[in-house]
Symmetry: C2
Subunit: 200 residues, 2 copies
């Protein structure tokens, strides 16, 4: 079995959302699995000096146009949530509460959260929404809500985010094929090709 | 005859260089011509708060890897000049000195300058280099050197740069197909497709 590929993303990253819709299929085509690795992109902004493109002067309007155009090209819907961006702490924590023991449900919940935020424009910081999405997937929502408050899950997310930064992750989505880094939804065609050919 | 497409670029932009190697061919395939439009990207940094990616913490090392990988994918050579980035005032001015009366030579000189900077790693701010490249193209190098010092060409470049900014150009390369904007060498496949289908 070949190694997994690592898929780093922020739950409030619209390009991360677009990549999330394709990454499993691309990996599967080459006999690979995907490690979904949510992290807090905001932690990198103080290092890079960047901010979300939609909030950056001159770039905001173009970014919205590019997002919609890129979504149409991959036959996806995208709808920006009313309050954007937000810090998706609870989304990440919910994922890491599940991933060790119920990895498939963790990924299913991540996809449901992304669909709620960018498919329907809903508020991803609403823990009742997260609980409802979890319940729909037959995840124990009460246990999840309780777990979100624990220090151990807060520490886990901090450690996961720091590990991402230590590995050089500064954007979302950010993908490693073995040790080869790819930044951006617009690098998925290169990821596909790299998986096919082992590099060029 | 269909409308031209507008190709904005900075002479010290490595992704602009990679795009410059492909843009004419892509346009020609669809019966279009390219308006080459060099401008001073640095003028946008005070607006966006960005700086060259190679100078941005965390992003620098990845950007060099991505540039070389992207270059290999399009079968191009790229070599970063030793001092990078620089302000390519003279390159732009030389282009605009020629473009009205000798448009084909202006573009040929732009290509020769890009090849010197990113193909050979040479110093694009060296006006003697620009003069030599011009002479190789049977452009009057003495007249060019003289013209570079005039106020009118300095004003022209300022006006061209401001016009680019007024149109929303914040990066290099930046392409308009009719009024549809595309930012980045990694959008050329979309440009190609847009030209083919008239949008999607």
């Amino acid at each position: 079995m070949s190694n997994s590929i690592d898929f780093y993303f922020d739950f409030y990253s619209p390009y991360g959302y677009l990549a999330s819709l394709r990454i499993d299929e691309i990996a599967a085509r080459h006999g690979r699995r995907v490690n979904w690795k949510p992290f807090m992109l905001g932690a990198t902004f103080s290092i890079t000096g960047h901010q979300p493109l939609t909030q950056t002067p001159m770039m905001g309007e173009y970014t919205l146009l590019d997002l919609e155009r890129s979504a149409r090209l991959q036959s996806a819907n995208i709808r920006m949530p009313q309050d954007f961006p937000k810090a998706a702490l609870s989304c990440c924590r919910a994922f890491y509460l599940l991933v060790d023991d119920q990895p498939e449900q963790a990924v299913a919940l991540a996809k449901a959260i992304y669909a709620a935020i960018f498919g329907e424009g809903r508020d991803g910081t609403d823990i009742n929404l997260i609980a409802k999405l979890a319940a729909n997937l037959e995840i124990d929502a009460d246990a999840l809500l309780e777990g979100l408050q624990t220090q151990s899950i807060k520490d886990r997310l901090k450690a996961e985010t720091q590990a991402a930064i230590d590995r050089g992750v500064f954007g979302s989505p950010f993908i490693f094929v073995d040790d080869e880094p790819f930044w951006g939804n617009d690098r998925l065609e290169q990821v596909d090709r790299w998986l096919d050919s082992g590099g060029w």
